[in-house]
Amino acid sequence: MFGSIAAIGAGLAVLGAGLGIGKIGGSAMDAIARQPEASGKIQTAMIIAAALIEGVALFGVVVGLLGLETGVQ
């Protein structure tokens, strides 16, 4: 039972991360459209920001994994 609740939590974390990364991606596109010559720098900054958000989402996934493991044992 705990496993499925943790999975819902992981799903919520992924939802938040998806929104966040989507926003970063959209803003980066806007920025590149406005300043195509700075696309390299924008891309790097975008990847770092996306990775930081993804890290938070993965904490949720790890909690989900813990649930999965507890469900097994």
Partner: protein
């Protein structure tokens, strides 16, 4: 060059030494018969999470193909420190008697492994009665034993080591032989990536000429993670190395130690007396900043581990659909999806190596930054 070939000889010897310890076992008819009932039961209820957990975890055998009991595997050496060093093959566990029930099932070792038991790939000491002593459903602390076995991940680690040494030494050899010329062959492939690490990871994040000091570390960590990630994606040959928290834990510890030991006055000043913060707030700020030192590498550890493990889980889950539904139509759907995720994982393999090196460079850069006031 003499030293180089000497090193190569040592690698070959090491590999040979390990292969002599491995005992290779193919399908054992007698063994298969013994567990026929169990196998039939296993086939009937295919447990996805159990299979996935088994695949992404570490093991004392390198399972190649066939059923999980009685299939073809390479048995890896077990190294225990229990009143002296004990080295024996893990086949003494995998062929042993199964005891216990359900999640607490364990295998009792035989031969040189007598007196030990393996439960969920962890080795415990048996008590005087030849039983595994359980407390609240877990083996008691008395049963634990120091285990430095050459597990599947350790072998994978050595494979990455040998691969990296071979590739990078041949690149270095090219330059030694030809001098400062335009690269060819392996060097031509690797040089842009090495320059990428130097020009896009180290140089922008670590100011001035200081990046030169940290470049070897950043290069090594980048290529180690990248090669491990890529090797982990190969079926049969690959293990979930960078998706193991012990490996990412060590890599994160390295970055943490380098950050702490290269931190200058300015860095510590920002932590213990953050500029622009009122004195009254410092008792709150200092613990937050101190925790921040540890959360950064912690996030590095979790990010790499979770990304790679999640990739493996998704691929395994997609492949599991075939065994759950037992229909060709589901196979036609799951195989292309698994392939797509595999290709995506190639990108993730590079991206995670880049991110780990990039964020390490960022943390080190913050530690060695001079004051700009």
């Amino acid at each position: 060059m003499a030293m180089l070939s000497g090193l190569k000889k040592i690698f070959v010897l090491t590999v040979l030494m390990f292969t002599t310890v491995f005992t290779y076992a193919s399908t054992d008819d007698h063994y298969a018969q013994l567990h026929e009932e169990q196998l039939a039961e296993e086939e009937r209820e295919f447990e996805v999470s159990k299979m996935i957990m088994h695949h992404i975890g570490d093991a004392h055998e390198w399972h190649l193909w066939g059923p999980s009991h009685g299939g073809t595997s390479v048995y890896l050496p077990i190294v225990l420190i229990d009143g002296g060093l004990k080295v024996f093959s893990s086949s003494h566990f995998y062929h042993g008697e199964t005891k216990g029930h359900g999640d607490h099932e364990y295998i009792v070792g035989e031969g040189p492994a007598e007196g030990y038991a393996m439960m969920h790939e962890t080795i415990y000491k048996l008590d005087e009665n030849g039983q595994l002593h359980l407390e609240d459903g877990h083996p008691s602390s008395e049963a634990s034993v120091l285990d430095f076995s050459i597990t599947k991940n350790v072998v994978s680690l050595l494979m990455v080591f040998v691969l990296l040494i071979l590739v990078m030494f041949s690149v270095a050899k090219f330059y030694k032989k030809n001098g400062a010329v335009a690269p060819k062959g392996v060097a031509k492939f690797m040089e842009p990536i090495i320059l990428f690490v130097r020009d896009d990871i180290a140089r922008p994040n670590i100011e001035g000429e200081k990046y030169k000091k940290y470049l070897p570390y950043l290069l090594t960590i980048f290529f180690f993670i990248w090669f491990s990630n890529m090797l982990g994606l190969i079926p049969i040959l690959g293990a979930n190395l960078t998706g193991n928290i012990a490996v990412t834990f060590f890599l994160a510890i390295c970055t943490l130690l380098i950050t702490i030991f290269s931190g200058n006055k300015n860095y510590w000043g920002h932590i213990f007396a953050t500029p622009g913060v009122p004195k009254a707030l410092l008792p709150i700020m200092i613990p937050i900043e101190l925790v921040g030192i540890f959360t950064k590498p912690f996030a590095l550890m979790i990010r790499l581990f979770a990304n790679i493990t999640a990739g493996h889980i998704i691929i395994l889950a997609l492949v599991s659909i075939i065994f759950l539904k037992e229909s060709a139509a589901w196979g036609a759907l799951s195989v292309p999806m698994a392939l797509f995720i595999s290709v995506l994982e190639l990108l993730v393999a590079f991206l995670q190596a880049y991110l780990f090196a990039m964020l390490s460079a960022l943390f080190i850069g913050a530690a060695v930054e001079e004051a700009h006031h």
